[in-house]
């Protein structure tokens, strides 16, 4: 952000405009744009899927009991085919001894192909009124249909009662279905049948205007003479019966090839066709009926009869696509060309993408869900076991460890905190040797440390100064200078309790133990961010650490409080600078060398957590990037033998799943939840989210109980789910991308304020 200087030369804070400009600039960063576009793509996929399944924008209303006073009598009493010329409505009836078979609600992947097979077997054409959402999902069936010589008409896109819809929606339903047909079979159609319609005498005052409007646009509305009512599943013989018209009348017959269990329809159809053929009936399509009525004869129209004769006067507008497909029986269809065709095909592809993508995403969501729930379950069970084991009265690691240990304090510009740290160490109940390693500080840390040590009367403090070389180098220097065989590593701003070191080093009585992780606590927990981190430390770190301890795969000993056998550290080569998370690095190295790493819950250390969002982001960015570096560095352990292999094949996968894969997929949970809440069922989605929150609260409460922490901080937990969690997975994704692109990270230093001390009443 820029600052401007006044004539007096003072700096001004950035104005509101400048801050807004800064934010706008941040939003334009390519990765933000990409993230937003991916989110847009994901949302589009989900919305499309919801729309196709009538979860989004569905309308189940069906109109009943309306009057028909405004509908012209000749329409109410007329035939089932309704066309318009201008304002004039004309109806056409089906001629005698002719059946126009019509199927509604298709295409369906199970039944429609069977219907097509039967029709082909008996060489009988039919007219299918297709629902656009099904056309886009099963385009191949429609292509076969048209190829076989059957006719198609529109049955809206989402099967809504059009009398309830606005003009705009009616238009959209028709146009969307045309696009779907164009993409699926390269045609558009002028035939239409409204959902929930039946005979012409059932047209009411609300649907009549819809038919009029569509008719004036050029659509031919098709109704029903004889309803087989096959959707009621009354039995095969009843279906055949009800579909048979009286005497020798012709009829447009309604059957369904989709929308439920149509087994009876499939069985009834051959019987019906044979029965009517035996009575001397012929079968045709709606266009075939129109054709017959035009010729005024009963001749069935076949094949390529009535193609367009341009006569040299093809309309020269941009919509010059009046070529009928194969003539007579499919005369209502036109070949789709140009924009319609391409857009239709693009739509079909888009639907196919959504149909594949959504199951994949759902599987991802389920994997994450199972992992998260599994982790909770394991954590609670194993934490309980760990607690009971370690706190049994008769439990002990071995003979008590009483020999002195070295405490290494790496410090870089810690002038605010170093005095506190040393004071806390001065009250240690265990004999210690303190080695302060000043990593080239520029604020007089060394001097302050020496003064503090003198003031406190500490004689066991050595202050070593080195040129600025980073924390790993400082720690290594300290380890090399240490004279005891056990070293405790802490941060320059960590504050110990008097008992901390004693508790921390007791596990070394067990010769298998190579390193011990202590219990790091957040001191500045009374701010919102502090409280969130406090919950995270108690639950996420300590509960997790108990589980990892028992599973022998603890990935990280906190830099704020950890103890190592000096020989073990030197054996694995000391702290390494290969990664940004040297604590994770050395812990994994310990595992691979065969040492046991345990968690000592009673060794408490108080640390200052980042107080601002920016610092927190920086810290977690470094941690997640560093963890990935460390895991990658030790990837060979997957195929190693011995203890290294054990860690590589058991510990590492657990860590990868719980600390990388699950958080990376966590956004899916939020996206699906938001989608379900907005578009599917608000209450159910909210309840599910609250249930997950409740489970987390229970686990967190258990963690708090094990650590004897005050429960009131848990009040922050719901809010934590809404903001903190999202931030954490954004950080992780950010660090993944950085790792992939091979960029270089800056080491960011926490702004120290020196406000953390042990709480009053302790020690």
């Amino acid at each position: 952000m820029t600052t401007t200087s006044t004539t007096r030369g003072r700096r001004r804070a950035p104005s509101r405009m400048q801050r807004a400009a800064g934010k706008a600039a941040a939003l334009q960063k390519p990765r933000v744009i990409l993230a937003l576009l991916v989110l847009l793509g994901l949302t589009s996929v989900m919305l499309l899927d919801g729309y196709l399944r009538a979860e989004v924008g569905g309308d189940q209303r069906v109109r009943t009991g309306a009057g028909s006073s405004k509908v012209p009598d000749k329409v109410l009493d007329g035939g089932p085919i309704l066309t318009f010329r201008g304002d004039r409505a004309t109806t056409v009836s089906v001629p005698k001894k002719t059946i126009a078979l019509t199927f509604d609600d298709g295409p369906n992947p199970t039944y429609t192909p069977q219907v097509l097979k039967i029709l082909k077997k008996y060489d009988v054409p039919a007219t299918f009124f297709l629902v656009g959402s099904m056309v886009s999902r099963y385009p191949g069936i429609v292509k076969d249909m048209v190829g076989q010589g059957d006719e198609v008409g529109i049955h809206t896109f989402t099967h809504v009662d059009l009398s309830y819809q606005s003009n705009a929606r009616v238009d959209r339903e028709m146009k969307q279905t045309q696009l779907a047909l164009a993409g699926a079979a390269g045609i558009t159609t002028t035939l239409f049948r409204a959902p929930y319609s039946s005979e012409t005498d059932a047209i009411d005052n609300y649907s009549w205007p819809v038919y009029k409007r569509l008719g004036q646009e050029g659509y031919t509305s098709v109704f029903v003479d004889t309803d087989s009512d096959d959707w009621k599943k009354p039995g095969v013989s009843k279906i055949v019966d009800w579909a048979t018209p009286k005497g020798t009348s012709g009829a447009a017959v309604l059957m369904h090839d989709a929308g439920g269990d149509r087994e009876q329809t499939i069985k009834a159809l051959p019987k019906y066709i044979e029965k009517m053929k035996a009575k001397g009936y012929t079968f045709t399509t709606i266009s075939g009926v129109m054709e017959k009525q035009n010729t005024g004869s009963g001749r069935a129209v076949t094949g390529a009869a009535a193609a367009l004769r341009p006569g040299g006067s093809v309309p020269n507008g941009p919509q010059a696509r009046g070529v009928s497909v194969t003539g007579g029986l499919q005369a209502a269809q036109h070949k789709a060309t140009g924009a319609t065709l391409y857009e239709g095909k693009a739509l079909i592809v888009a639907v196919a993408v959504a149909e594949y993508a959504l199951p994949v995403l759902s599987v991802g969501l389920m994997v994450v869900g199972v992992a998260v729930m599994g982790r909770f379950g394991m954590m609670v069970v194993l934490a309980r076991r760990h607690y009971r084991q370690r706190n049994k009265r008769r439990f002990s690691w071995g003979p008590p460890v009483t020999r002195p240990v070295s405490v290494i304090v790496p410090a870089y510009n810690e002038k605010e905190c170093i005095a506190n740290t040393l004071e806390s160490l001065s009250r240690s109940t265990h004999p210690i040797e303190v080695i302060v390693v000043d990593d080239g500080s520029t604020d007089g840390t060394s001097e302050i440390a020496r003064e503090a040590a003198n003031a406190l009367g500490m004689t066991n403090v050595r202050v070593i100064r080195q040129e600025n070389a980073g924390k790993p180098a400082a720690l290594n220097h300290g380890v090399r200078s240490a004279s005891c065989d056990i070293v405790v590593m802490m941060d320059g701003d960590t504050v110990f309790e008097p008992d901390t070191v004693r508790h921390l080093v007791q596990p070394f009585a067990d010769p298998e133990v190579g390193a011990v992780a202590g219990n790091a606590k957040v001191g500045n927990r009374n701010t919102l961010i502090g409280a969130w981190q406090h919950i995270e430390y108690v639950m996420g770190f300590n509960l997790d650490r108990r589980m990892y301890d028992l599973l022998r795969c603890m990935p990280t000993i906190p830099g704020a409080i950890g103890a190592f056998r000096r020989e073990a550290v030197l054996q694995v080569g000391g702290m390494s600078e290969d990664t940004l998370a040297e604590d994770t690095d050395i812990t994994i190295a310990m595992h691979r060398a065969g040492w046991r790493v345990v968690y000592q819950e009673h060794a408490r250390a108080w640390t200052e957590a980042p107080g601002s969002l920016k610092q927190l982001w920086s810290q977690r960015y470094r941690w997640s990037y560093g963890t990935m570096q460390a895991l990658w560095k030790h990837r060979k352990s997957l195929t190693d033998k011995g203890p290294s292999g054990r860690f590589g094949r058991v510990g590492m996968p657990l860590v990868v799943i719980f600390q990388i894969v699950t958080p990376v997929c966590a956004p899916l949970i939020d996206v699906f939840t938001a989608y379900s809440m907005i578009f599917v069922d608000f209450t159910a989605a909210l309840l599910a989210w609250l249930a997950v929150l409740a489970i987390q609260l229970v686990c967190a409460a258990y963690a708090f109980r094990l650590d004897r922490e005050k429960y009131r901080y848990l009040l922050m937990m719901p809010l934590q789910q809404l903001a903190y969690r999202q931030m954490m997975y954004l950080v992780l994704i950010h660090s993944c991308i950085t790792a992939l692109t091979g960029g270089r990270l800056r080491w960011q230093k926490l702004k120290r304020t020196g406000e953390v001390g042990t709480p009053a009443g302790v020690g």
Partner: protein, 94 residues
């Protein structure tokens, strides 16, 4: 670990990211257009399926593009009669 000073990986990933972004945008655009029904014509701008009938065939849409007469004229009917009259300004007023 992970640091790639040559910048090759980042260039490749940048390209992949660009492709992904364009695909997502295109996807949303296609769906938006299809949803609004933009890019498809109503049947009146196509030659309509005229109901035939002795009144002769005329374009029935109120918008009325140049009608050469309908198709669907059955072969038995002489082609001359309906076609010649139509284009000369008999737009139906509606």
């Amino acid at each position: 670990m992970f640091v790639d000073n040559s910048g090759r990986r980042s260039k490749l990933l940048r390209r992949i990211g660009l492709l992904a972004g364009v695909l997502c945008l295109g996807y949303a655009v296609v769906l938006g257009l299809a949803f609004m029904g933009i890019g498809t014509a109503t049947p009146s701008s196509l030659l309509p399926f005229a109901g035939g009938g002795p009144a002769g065939v005329r374009n029935s849409g109120p918008r009325g593009t140049e009608p050469p007469g309908g198709f669907g004229t059955p072969p038995a009917r002489p082609t001359g009669t309906p076609l010649t009259g139509a284009p000369t300004g008999t737009r139906p007023s509606s």
